[in-house]
């Protein structure tokens, strides 16, 4: 099953690269720079998806107390942080091209950065909390609190940018381009699909790995 997923994902990834780098047309304003978007958007989507899975798995772990939900949350958080990092880097490149700055405190960027901090904190907590069920419960509680916080962060930054700001810090307009041609839409859809598949494969692998780690640990423990 996993191997099919990898083969399918690999094929899609090649197609996706062709579509986003060659086939799709340049944008009116951004010219070739628009192509970063076909990487940035799916990566951002995947990181949100990953953190949503952390949230759901955390709730399931706390209500059902089954270890597999904890392993799933942990695996998803690790991949989520990886993709969130890629999101920040690609977003920064995109911002440079679109708005001529590497960084701006617009609601989406700010939220993305806070999101990144929350889940880096999550991984740190995983590393430093007591081993076993107590640490897993700590992580699950943070997985819930963190995810609930994200929309509140977004909303509060939005609220702030609607407000007249002091001179010199005007927020950039977010949407400086729109997906004008059908080719662009198709490319975007395919890239989102491809990266979601990539995420599914990675998550599966990571989850299986953690299961195996746990199993070896159990065996080692029983013979100790």
């Amino acid at each position: 099953m996993l191997s099919y997923l990898i083969v399918l994902g690999g094929a899609l990834m090649v197609a996706n690269l062709f579509l986003s780098l060659v086939w799709s047309p340049p944008d009116v304003n951004l010219t070739e720079g628009v192509r970063i978007f076909y990487f940035h958007a799916p990566v951002a989507w995947v990181s949100f998806l990953a953190f949503f899975i952390v949230f759901v798995a955390s709730i399931l772990y706390l209500t059902r107390k089954e270890q597999r939900w904890d392993l799933l949350a942990n695996a998803s958080a690790e991949i989520g942080v990886l993709f969130a990092t890629l999101m920040l880097i690609s977003g920064s490149l995109f911002a440079r091209i679109a708005w001529n700055v590497w960084w701006t405190w617009d609601p989406r960027l700010t939220t993305a950065l806070i999101l990144w901090f929350i889940y880096v904190g999550y991984l740190m907590l995983r590393a430093y909390a007591p081993q076993g069920a107590q640490g897993a419960r700590y992580a699950a509680v943070l997985g819930i609190i963190g995810f609930v916080d994200v929309p509140i962060v977004y909303f509060s930054v939005r609220l702030r940018t609607l407000h007249p700001r002091p001179i010199g810090t005007g927020g950039a307009e977010a949407d400086t381009f729109n997906l004008a041609s059908p080719e662009m839409v198709i490319t975007l859809v395919l890239s989102v699909l491809t990266f979601t598949l990539l995420f599914a494969a990675l998550l599966w692998l990571r989850y299986r790995m953690k299961e195996v780690e746990e199993a070896t640990e159990r065996i080692r423990r029983d013979y100790a």
């Binding site: 007591p130 081993q131 107590q134 423990r221």
Partner: protein, 245 residues
């Protein structure tokens, strides 16, 4: 009749380190079980799980018929816990500490009960001193007073003799005898063989997270017990006594 303590297959691990690997125990009211075991055998973890301070990974436990998972809050009323930590506030007086815990447990006629318990443990003179100024022995006595304040049916004592002066040990033994006589039960973990054998109506040995031995106290002599202990835990009495230091 409902047993005081009924434990089946209790498990608890801290990450990869298992502390309890399936503990089975039962204890009737009127009995005191002294549990011996080397360091790391799971004694403290057992007390913590029964005291609702730690979450078991598997198995069931009932105290006075109340399930550890389902009736936690009601169960806490029935138990009195003494551990290595005193759970006292250094900058409150003895009286204030007891009043605080008494209120948390909604103890009726609290003032009278505090005086009663203070007299029981010989703390009358110290009631208005801050805990910080008390000796370790007195702090330990106060923590026993704290544990019995709400009149628990089951006492969970984790190495209660640690830090108690000989006089206080006598007080503890008398208190325990009265508790059992009044139909209560007690689970006592200990390093100290003489104390444990003196206090327990039953004795048990915990090794590597399992109960490996259980016997009625009168059925075993001290020498026999020493021999059994050494055989089951691989630790000589000398090693055990050193660990107790």
């Amino acid at each position: 009749m409902t047993p005081a303590i009924e434990i089946k297959g209790l498990q608890k691990s801290y990450g990869p380190r298992p502390a309890l690997r399936g503990v089975d125990l039962s204890l009737a009211f009127g009995q005191a079980l002294a549990i011996f075991g080397p360091n790391g055998s799971g004694k403290t973890t057992l007390i913590k799980v029964l005291a609702t301070l730690a979450q078991a990974d598997g198995g069931t436990a009932r105290i006075a018929g109340l399930d550890l998972q389902q009736s936690e809050t009601a169960l806490r009323r029935r138990i009195g816990v003494v551990t290595h930590q005193t759970y006292l506030y250094d900058d409150l007086t003895s009286y204030e500490n007891l009043r605080f815990y008494g209120r948390l447990f909604s103890v009726p006629h609290l003032e009278a009960r505090i005086s009663e318990v203070a007299a029981l443990l010989g703390l009358e003179e110290r009631m208005h001193q801050r805990v910080r100024t008390l000796s370790h022995g007195l702090q330990k006595r106060l923590s026993i007073a704290r544990a019995v304040l709400h009149g628990p049916q089951v006492l969970l004592l984790d190495e209660p003799e640690a830090g108690l002066d000989p006089q206080a040990q006598e007080v503890l033994a008398r208190l325990l005898a009265e508790h059992l006589h009044g139909g209560g039960a007690a689970l006592i973990t200990t390093h100290n063989v003489e104390q444990g054998l003196a206090l327990g109506s039953h004795v048990a040995i915990l090794a590597q997270g399992r109960v490996v031995y259980r016997q009625e106290r009168p059925a075993v002599t001290e020498a026999e017990f020493d021999e059994t202990y050494a055989r089951l835990t691989g630790a000589s009495r000398q090693a055990r006594d050193e660990a107790a230091q």
